[in-house]
């Protein structure tokens, strides 16, 4: 048996479009995603809104059936698991949502909120239940003074700690973190990130981290996958992917978040245009409509006609770009070498 806790192979999710008549039109929110997360590791999934990151999370949680592909958790295929196994998996795969206030029932107090998953899964009752709630509270850095408060009596950071405690209550092995700090202020974000690192170490947790914020993903992740229009376009070890990104989209994302006075606003934006709709996925490479590298290379036809496959660009590092390997290329009769370290800028 492999040591991979989670394995996604060719995962695709299409949503039917209502009112589209007999044509049976659908949009492919996720279109062929492969990823593996070894036990105890953190995989960060980044991308813009609409790239399909949250749909991947929903598939992993079993909240929505797959259209294609498979998800294997700890050697068990989610699609074929029987109901008893599924119940167990619900305990072992948990989620932390983006908006803590929306994830907590406003009419329940903190102790009931944290006890709920324990009673639902018949994990504790009576004195043992109270003891377990107390220790979970301590795990997430809250104290007994918070026990009888309602969500509206908590700050955003405290509420997110309660959400984390609820996720931990059932003793999960995999926790999906869906934008866990996007709604929080900087200092509170730092506190929650520290908490997530500590909990991973103490409980040996495995995380699937979903975020649009590259600096958060960089901070927590061992590996990173960059999503664009339903696909992972680049994937690799965090330091290498961010240190020498090979896909032009990853480079543009990085350039967009460099910040701290290092960005000159008089230069063109790192990427032009907007992400096309999943209704209307471009032919060939789905990124070609916004790709600065393609423009730099004189718009080679292959970008428009051929869907690039992921190629190895380094140890454990793949990118889905025809020109990602930095090999000698011939464009319109001009031969040259593409240096992967060259900055790529939009127009």
């Amino acid at each position: 048996m492999s040591s991979n806790l989670l394995e996604l192979t060719g995962v695709a999710k299409a949503f039917p479009v209502p009112g589209s008549g007999r044509k049976r039109a659908s949009i492919r929110a996720v279109d062929g995603v492969d990823l593996v997360i070894p036990q105890g590791r953190v995989f960060g999934l980044v991308g813009e809104s609409g790239s399909g990151k949250t749909t991947v999370a929903r598939c992993v949680l079993g909240l929505t059936p797959l259209s294609e592909g498979s998800i294997v958790f700890d050697g068990i295929d989610l699609a074929t698991a029987d109901s008893a196994v599924r119940r167990r998996l619900r305990r072992e795969i948990q989620i932390v949502f983006q908006q803590p206030m929306a994830a907590l029932n406003p009419r329940m107090t903190v102790d009931n909120l944290i006890a709920e998953p324990l009673t639902t899964h018949h994990l504790a009752r009576g004195a043992a239940l109270r003891e377990r709630v107390g220790s979970l509270l301590e795990d997430v850095g809250l104290s007994a003074t918070h026990l009888h408060r309602y969500p509206h009596e908590l700050s955003g950071g405290q509420a997110q700690r309660v959400v984390v405690a609820r996720a931990l209550a059932s003793g999960p092995r995999l926790v999906v973190l869906d934008e866990p700090t996007s709604a929080l202020d900087i200092v509170v974000q730092a506190q929650i990130l520290n908490l997530l690192v500590d909990l991973r170490d103490e409980h040996g947790l495995t995380y699937l981290l979903i975020s649009h914020d590259l600096s958060v993903v960089r901070h927590l992740s061992d590996r990173i996958g960059v999503m664009y229009l339903g696909r992972i376009v680049e994937e690799g070890p965090a330091a290498k992917l961010l240190g020498s990104p090979r896909h032009p989209y990853t480079r543009a994302l990085l350039a967009s978040t460099r910040g701290r006075g290092s960005t000159t606003l008089d230069e063109p934006a790192p990427i032009s245009g907007e992400m096309p709709s999943t209704w209307d996925i471009p032919s060939g490479c789905r990124f070609h409509t916004r790709c600065a590298l393609r423009d730099q290379l004189g718009r080679p036809a292959t970008c428009e006609t051929t869907d690039p496959v992921s190629v190895t660009v380094g140890a454990d590092h793949v990118a889905a770009c025809h020109f990602a390997d930095g090999a000698t290329i011939t464009v319109d009769g001009h031969e040259g070498t593409l240096n992967p370290d060259d900055p790529v800028r939009g127009n």
Binding site: L193, A255, S256, G259, G261, A269, I271
Partner: protein, 322 residues
């Protein structure tokens, strides 16, 4: 030369049944020069949006502002409603955080932007619509003639934010208040919008009052930065200086807490405790209970904003210990 906008000792109280229930701003002082970009940063509830709204006197009904807000020689807090209306949208305009909720969903984008021009520039509808097309082109929207006929829901977030900027600049204001103009947008689109604002600022020469929680964005865009904490300016200075050598422990805490600077996985420095409530007020420094540099004096005497190096001021007794 006096600054374009001068806010002095601005206080905003919220009251219910004639009693003050909270004091959200506690004496904010700030200036924006003509053509200058000033960033106002701070955490949720520190009063940055309220400061922006006070300039246009768009506060909720149960809020009272006192102090001085002087714009281009006019005392904003003393103007009649009629005088105020002639300034709003014309000399001072505002770009809000969520473009999706800032447009009226039942009118076309072009019609709504046109109304601003009709009202302030005394032009007829056809002329206004021509101006709208021109302005939409200026904010980088392709096919302005067709975009004008769209309803807000037919445009993406990035396109709507461009349309809102068009609405804000159509009368060529001298001050633009931008309240988290890119927070609702993806990073790649945010970069496009920032560049657009910068280009328009260069072309038209307006001052920008840039409200954001994002220090990175503010540092890219602004000439000067003011850091707000619990309703007060705790530090202000020229961008590079303030970021390079913060003179208030709160500013330093904000910078250190950003995950981009730290070693991945290493504990991020944070400050203990939470922001004080808007009710009541301690005698000393409001940051004292959370401050790593705290001494006894901090609890007894409130520090005022005072020079702390060239082009920089901090409200801290111990700024030179940083």
């Amino acid at each position: 030369m006096s600054p374009l906008l001068e806010i002095e000792d601005l206080t905003v109280d919220f009251s219910r049944d004639g009693r003050v229930t909270s004091r959200a701003l506690r004496g904010v002082s700030l200036t924006v020069d003509a053509g200058e970009a000033v960033g106002v940063v701070g955490e949720t509830g520190c009063g940055k949006t309220l400061t922006g709204l006070s300039v246009l006197r768009m506060l909720p009904e149960n809020a009272t502002a006192s102090g001085r807000v002087s714009f281009d020689g006019q005392e904003m807090l003393e103007l009649s409603d009629r005088e105020l209306r002639s300034i709003r949208g014309k000399q001072i305009s505002m770009v809000f955080q969520s473009p999706g909720t800032s447009f009226n969903p039942v009118f076309t984008v072009g019609y709504q932007i046109g109304l601003v021009a009709e009202r302030h520039l005394e032009v007829g509808r056809p002329e206004a619509q021509e101006l709208v097309a021109e302005t939409l082109h200026a904010v980088g929207l392709p096919n302005p003639e067709s975009v004008m006929r769209f309803y807000p829901h037919e445009l993406s977030g990035g396109m709507l934010q461009r349309a809102m900027i068009a609405m804000a600049i159509i009368c060529k204001p001298s001050l633009l208040i931008a309240d988290e103009p890119t927070t609702a947008l993806d990073v790649t689109i945010a970069q496009q919008i920032l560049r657009l604002l910068r280009r328009l600022q260069r072309e038209q020469g307006f001052g920008v009052f840039f409200i954001s929680h994002d220090l990175d964005l503010v540092s890219d865009f602004c000439d000067r930065i003011a850091v707000l904490y619990a309703g007060r300016v705790v530090e202000t200075g020229v961008t590079a200086q303030l970021l390079g050598r913060p003179r208030h422990p709160y500013t330093r805490a904000l910078l250190e807490a950003l995950p981009g600077r730290a070693q991945p996985g290493a504990p991020l420095p944070t400050v203990p405790g939470a922001v004080p409530t808007a009710l009541g007020d301690a005698t000393g420094c409001p940051f004292a209970p959370r401050c790593p540099l705290v001494v006894e004096r901090c609890f007894e005497e409130r520090p005022v904003l005072a020079p702390a190096g060239p082009d920089q001021a901090a409200a801290c007794h111990r700024w030179d210990a940083l």
